[in-house]
Amino acid sequence: MISAALAVLKTDEERNALSEIYTKNIKSFYSIAFSKLHNAHDSEDAIQEAFLAIARNPDNFFAIPQEKRVSYINVMIRNISFSIWNRKLKIEDTQVELDENIVDESISLDEKISSELSCIEIYRFIDTLSETTKTALYLKIHFHMKYSAIASQLEISEEAVKKRIARATVKIKQFMEDSHE
């Protein structure tokens, strides 16, 4: 009986968690959206779309450690802000090349890669990857999310998530290794 009551309390805590996070962090959420969209109305849209995506898949959100949940929302808002921007300017996702043969080489995310380049130069290269690919990679690396969870959150197929992550890691590695030549 007591455990059932505690479960209800915990559920209520969880249920209130999202609105509390929104209230406490609205300033940073808005700033992230505005930094990409430069428009108050679109920034509102980015925030509400991100929260709606989380509300549709609350299990993904629950699975993230509490201390990382705000950064998870930050990433979602950033990703959606880019999508809104691309939609407005009718820009296609530059890296949707899923029909081509993908290198199946799998690179461990914690494999040490040596490079002559500084990290700032590598960040510039990472910047050229599509926003969805970067987000998928970050959700995998930083939040240890399952491919299926990333897929449902980014509204792309699980296969596409795997391919995007595999391709991005190979590209980053190649770019770093080319610096030796």
Binding site: Y30, A40, Q48, F51, A55, D59, F62, S71, V75, I113
Partner: protein
Amino acid sequence: MSNTYTIEELINGYYDQEFSRVSVEPVPKFSIKHRIKMKRAFNLYQKKAKPLSMVSSNEKREMSLRKRVIIAVMVIVFMVIATGFVIAFISKSFRGTVYNDNTQLLAFGFDSCPNIIEKEYSLSVIPYGYELYKMIESEVRVSIIYKNSTNDLLIFEQTVKEAYDSHINTEGYTIQETSVNECDAICVEFNRDTGTEAMVIWNNKDYILKLHGSFTKNELIELANSNEKNGF
């Protein structure tokens, strides 16, 4: 100069840099449409939110084997109790299962014991007034029934250990461990409106012997002791 990085370090570093570049903007008054949509998102989240206990999380570990075994045992015990099948009965010479209204007893440790009745026992010491009434024999069991003038019965039973399988009424009665001439024994006393009745069962190394009649358990134990000492 060569640097080494992992993809993990680079991606984390990239996002740290990206978020650190964001300048803090003053939050405007949001539109009614935004507030409605946010309310809808929170309501949807509330509807879909599950209790923490049901959620798989990175923090939630898979249940250990030990915990799973404990839970499995608890479930089995619960099922056993629910179906009226309670616990095992174990004494020095007997094993059995305790049911709601009886206890099934089996003997164990019969490797070097006869598997048919090789030597028939009969009571050499018989209570006063009792006479041989009936004898029922099989390869594995001999039952000798004695009767007195008031038709009270005394049953002496000899069974090969391997074939011993008895159901004893333990609904409201308790099996107690005792000894008969240093042999392991159990006894039960039934106190009924019609009088006292008892049963003593002992393991005499070769066979399982039983005395059952309208006596107290102490009287039957004494009778069993006398017969063991007299060598039947």
